[in-house]
Amino acid sequence: MLKKLWWTVVLLSLGSTSLAQSSDTQTPTKDTDNFFWNIEANMGGVYFKSALEDHRQDSFIEYLELGFTLELFYKGFFVQTNKRRTNPFDVEFGYQLHTTDKWGVDFITKTYLSGFSGEDIDSDLRERRLGTGHALRLTHFIDDAIFTVDLAVLTAALGTKSWLVESYYSYLIAHKNWEIYLGTGLTFYNAETVNYYAGIDEHDAATGLDLYRPGSGFEFVVEANAIYPLNEDWTLKLGASKSRFSSNIYQSPLGLRKGETLIKLGASYVF
């Protein structure tokens, strides 16, 4: 129910954006107080060592990253990608509930956990769906830094009581024309969430694995991202992130690594 309501709000907000564009006597520019948009085409290379031990980047195409990032803001409603994080395709839909110079409160929907299926690791394991969550995000602005805390309830498909708390601190170093974002985060996953992703239930146990219910767990992450303007249309982007799971997660019989590693190098065309 909550999910349906949320998507209705998002669709209405996007609809109202296009209506506003067509009805305004003055065509909205890219940057006004009420309206903002940014579209970028991204291309580059990526090295990704996922949490699954058996998952490999086998072909050349898996090292390529092509796609678009979209940012829209209209009177509080927004679609955004978090440039401070390494994954630029991490799209957030939301509504700005409250904002001051120092604090902000948003209601957002985003994917917090990537899922996988047995096919990814040549196994008959049950599918782990995408961990999409609806969250309240509290943001504290501290000069060139941002600290956010997301209190997220994950979709019911994962279990009715799946939730997490994601905290992230990002600090900007502006060196000449470079923007360098250094970040660190800690996420707490409740037991139901960890059991869903890293646990071994009766279905999985049929493949020969032992039953495993790890309970609640943590993930710690450090990231560094840099952006450099090549000219008025193109930017160079570099990024790296390394995460580490709590031991009860990576000791799962599923065959998990202690953490994930992501390294990126690419360029973006800014429309």
């Binding site: 903002f36 803001f73 700005q96 904002t99 902000g104 602005f141 024309n177 000219n231 008025e232």
Partner: protein, 133 residues
């Protein structure tokens, strides 16, 4: 003497005349000042832009010449040159700047060049959300 016999002399005279005129133009150096690159690109509107710039200049006569910003009396570089000069420096500005070539003895402004500032992202209305300043 027929025209045919005079023709080579006439043609070669024109060639010599044209050649000497062209040669005279080459020697006549006028004052000029150019910047390479002549544009600095920053990531976001309002940010100070940094760029290594080379100023090339030429002068009509040997002497001591200087470079300064249009809105600043301070001479940032001076050099004694015959005809041509180079000046490398780190450009730092949020806005377009004009640089002048000055003859030091007279302080006469001989030439000027602009270095523009551009941005990939124009100002963002969401500064409070993704504040970077």
């Amino acid at each position: 003497m027929s025209f045919k016999s005079w023709a080579p002399v006439i043609v070669s005279s024109f060639v010599v005349l044209a050649s000497s005129q062209a040669h005279g133009k080459v020697n006549q150096v006028i004052s000029s000042l150019s910047a390479l690159p002549n544009k600095c690109v920053a990531l976001r509107h309002g940010r100070t832009c940094f760029a290594p710039i080379t100023l090339r200049f030429s002068v009509p006569k040997p002497g001591r010449y200087c470079i300064r910003q249009q809105d600043n009396k301070h001479l940032i570089y001076c050099e004694s040159i015959e005809r041509y000069g180079l000046f490398n420096f780190e450009f730092q500005s949020k806005t377009k700047l004009t640089y002048l070539l000055i003859e030091q003895s007279t302080l006469a402004e001989l030439a000027s060049t602009d270095i523009d500032v551009a941005w990939v992202h124009q100002k963002t209305s969401r500064k409070r959300r993704w504040r970077i300043f």
